[in-house]
């Protein structure tokens, strides 16, 4: 089963995604695909908090900031993956190396290819993204392009996944499929 989860910040997406991945896997062959590449102390504190949250749940952590579908080769067949988050993955793919001064326009396609491959080949997969599309702000071109590209990756995943959930205050609105976990 594949599940796509989005919604605003601090609404319980990661927590629900962990419970979902745990249930789907039956507690076996379970992987947390961490896409954030820490750049400062704030990031490292956030990662430590997430690690503590899922300690003892049976996740093996794979840190894959780019080329995310490598997780398939690193795990046994039939594995369950929790990919958190699409948001960080896209940002990393936009700057694939130090030499990139401008965002790589091919980044959204690479994200979609990798994520859809996981959706197609994994035993189960849960994807977490962020809903950043409903504020009254005029962004610079870089940020606006990022928003547009993240939305294109979100739409591709929502189209491919069995179940699509929007989280608000820990409660899920089911936009597609069934959700009885």
């Amino acid at each position: 089963m594949t599940v796509f989860i989005s919604g605003g910040c601090k609404n319980g997406k990661s927590f629900l995604a962990q419970s979902a991945a745990l249930r789907l896997s039956g507690g076996r062959n379970l992987y947390y695909v961490a896409t954030m590449i820490p750049s400062d102390g704030e990031d490292r504190a956030r990662i430590a908090r997430h690690r503590a949250d899922r300690a003892g749940l049976g996740f093996r952590t794979l840190e894959l900031g780019r080329d995310v579908s490598r997780c398939l080769a690193l795990a046994a067949p039939g594995a369950t993956f929790l990919v958190d988050s699409v948001t960080a993955l896209l940002l990393n793919e936009m700057f694939p190396g130090e030499q990139y001064a401008a965002p790589d326009p091919d980044a959204p396609r690479r994200c979609v290819d990798g994520l859809l491959r996981i959706a197609a080949e994994a035993g189960n997969a849960v994807f977490v993204s962020d809903y950043i599309y409903s504020d009254a702000a005029r962004y610079d071109a870089f940020t606006e392009n990022y928003r547009r590209d993240l939305a294109s990756v979100d739409r591709a995943l929502a189209s491919a996944c069995d179940t699509v959930l929007e989280l608000c205050s820990g409660r899920a609105t089911v936009h597609k499929g069934v959700w009885d976990i």
């Binding site: 409903s134 702000a137 294109s152 739409r155 936009h175």
Partner: protein, 125 residues
């Protein structure tokens, strides 16, 4: 009238095409000039229309109310800009309020209201 709302890039125009059969070239998109082609079967970017009204001191709800017969069988698309931090600039605060009031008025008048989320349609009315 059918109202489609949702955040940026969520598939609102695509839904107007696939669900209501509106060809892309028949969609009128509101710009900074605040002009509306009332004869178009689909009017998009109503949040931009609200912005132009703020700039020129007009009331978007009053304008839509006075043109009711023009859009009573149209498909209208309004971007949802309601869920961010309160904007620092007074103009953007007024924009958010004007767009929200327009969207709420039209949702009240609409036969159907659909919210788009990541390309998926959610029936609100």
């Amino acid at each position: 009238m059918d109202l489609i709302i949702g955040g940026a890039y969520q598939g609102k125009r695509r839904y107007a095409q696939t669900h209501f059969g509106i060809p892309e070239e028949s969609v009128f998109t509101c710009r900074e000039d605040g002009r509306i082609d009332w004869s178009a079967p689909c009017i998009a970017g109503l949040e931009e229309f609200a912005f132009s009204c703020v700039k020129t001191g007009r009331d978007p709800v009053a304008i839509f109310r006075s043109h009711r017969e023009n859009w009573s069988r149209s498909v209208l698309i309004c971007g949802d800009i309601s869920s961010g931090v309160v904007p620092l600039g007074a103009e953007n605060r007024a924009w958010r309020e004007a767009s929200g009031r327009l969207s709420a008025y039209l949702a009240g008048e609409a036969d159907t209201v659909t919210r788009m989320f990541c390309g998926l349609a959610q029936k609100l009315k």
